[in-house]
Amino acid sequence: MNSTYKIADLGPVRPPRFFQRIFSVWLRHVRVYTKHLISNGFPPFVEPLMFLAGIGLGLGSYVGLIEGKTYIMFLASGIIVPSAMFTATYECTFGSFIRLEFDKVYDGMISASLTVKDMFIGEILFAGTKGFFFSGAVLTVVACFGLVESGMAVFTPFIGFITGMMFAALALLVTSFVKNINHFNFFFTGLITPMFFFSGIVFPLDNLPELARWLAAVFPLMHAVRLVRAFFFNSFDPGLLFNLAYMIIFTVLFGSMAIRRLTRRIVN
């Protein structure tokens, strides 16, 4: 008896489109985040409150005008965006590492019709969304203090969105190297914390030595702070385009390096 062989044909196979896949990943993160909305949504409102009351009012009374603004105004405009940096960085360091190594969430996800690339683009977008929400929360608190002068300030959360994506890309690249979760401490104390202090948030950079000013310009957060202040005070200059370009190029560059390295770690 002869038998002939042929590859079984399933007919057309049409996996979800790119945007549907990205959206589904984003939705997974939103679901997990909003599951504990009270405990997750609380800190972004409380932290700026303490900052403004403690440092702004307390320290501010000893400080004169900065760039023609009172210190509390200078500080209020500065603290809108670092919250986006911190939340995105935590999400894509500790959060991503736990998903990668401990909970194996990524393995579960790529067993469905998703690629590793989909997974991390979705994650970067989610970090951006968190950045939007966190800077929006800070803006709300700042507004409650009566510190918002210009209506253009409502656009600052969009800078928070880009900031979140930018730091998610950086954090994922760091995560792709990390084998032990404690190593993130080096990243936080070595880069993220100094970035907060040297990006013109709590004090202006003009009086710093030349070298420190150059260093601050390399720090991605400084560019976000400049953009946020421009919207907050409704005063724009052409240099801001450079700041925006820096953030976008940084995100794309670091994001694609991170995805390439993480792909090699997940697909072996």
């Binding site: 002939t4 679901r31 194996k104």
Partner: protein, 318 residues
């Protein structure tokens, strides 16, 4: 081998549909050869098993079918899963495949039902259809009353059933399971075997790895025994036993290292203080057992485990 007969083109010709073909597949990790020149074919609608000790390359081979691992470029080799090459079309393959990995990778932060809802989104199932499918897969895996549980509240057996339920959500044509019953109690194991038989009846092609001989014997139509990345033998479980090992085994439990003079037609093997005698002739082996008192010996039919140990050796592999 059970073949799915699609259509008879002539009186003597059977059209055999293949779900998977692998030709000369290699995979190395540094100096370690995980899979060495492996070739096999899986007809559509069968349950196909990969049997082997830890480190035999079973999991690696599974992973190479859906792009979780990449086969070596340098040594050629071809893989086709329903006509798709996992190197290029992993996304398509995953769209019609359900994958149950060895490790539990459920989303710990979501409940049972949320796990399934989110997973249905990865396949872009519309909400109404998703809810309908989820209800079905939960009922099928007997988890309907656990739908609002958190993952950490589930036992190992429930988690495994949920992983299978999750893999069924896209109504897969192919189901890949990596050690689906390792570490589970006998009840759960039997339930899972029943479900897999059910799925096979529905036309799902099933691929599984296991080191439980019983499991392979119970549900596999065809299987490969692997050792050190290579295929050692292939065939339906019953035929492998038939072909590679004597029908009966007499295990002498306390020989105290004392050798027993094997007679013609009886093969002897030593294992520490135990001695195993194999023979096709029941009478012959029965006569030997009569010399011992009850409790000192076990007389039984040979099974897949005997074949497996004969082929892969009795020493530890790691």
């Amino acid at each position: 081998m059970r073949l799915q007969m699609k259509k008879k083109t002539s009186g003597s010709e059977i059209m055999k549909e293949l779900a998977i073909t692998a030709k000369n597949v290699h995979k190395t990790y540094g100096n370690l050869t995980a899979v060495n020149n492996l070739s096999f074919e899986v007809p559509r609608g069968v349950c196909f098993g990969f049997l082997g000790p830890n480190g035999a390359g079973k999991t690696t081979m599974m992973k190479m079918l859906f792009g979780k691992a990449e086969r070596d470029h340098s040594q050629g080799g071809e893989v086709s899963v329903f006509g798709y090459d996992p190197k290029k079309n992993a996304l398509e393959i995953k769209y019609f495949t359900g994958i149950v990995s060895q490790e539990d990778n459920l989303d710990q932060e979501l409940s049972v039902i949320q796990n399934l809802m989110i997973y249905s989104k990865f396949y872009a199932l519309p909400g109404k259809q998703a809810r309908h499918f989820i209800k079905n897969v939960l009922a099928f895996m007997e988890l309907s009353d656990k739908k609002d549980f958190q993952i950490r509240q589930l036992s190992g057996g429930m988690k495994r059933r949920l992983l299978i339920a999750r893999a069924l959500i896209n109504n897969p044509k192919l189901l890949i399971l990596d050690e689906p019953t390792t570490g589970l109690d006998p009840q759960v194991r039997h339930v899972i075997w029943d479900k897999l038989r059910d799925l096979k009846k529905q036309g799902v092609t099933i691929l599984l790895t296991t080191h439980y001989m019983e499991e392979a014997f119970q549900i596999c139509d065809d299987l490969i025994i692997m050792n050190k990345g290579e295929k050692v033998m292939q065939g339906p479980p019953a035929r492998l036993i038939d072909k590679h090992i004597e029908t009966y085994v007499l295990e002498l439990l306390h020989t105290g290292g004392k050798a027993f003079n094997a007679t013609d037609g009886v093969r002897a093997e030593f294992m520490n203080s135990r001695m195993l005698l194999y023979a096709d002739d029941f009478e012959k082996i029965k006569q030997i057992s009569d010399q011992f008192k009850a409790g000192d010996f076990i007389l039984r039919q040979s099974n897949l485990e005997d074949v497996f140990l004969k082929i892969t050796g009795r020493k530890l592999h790691e």
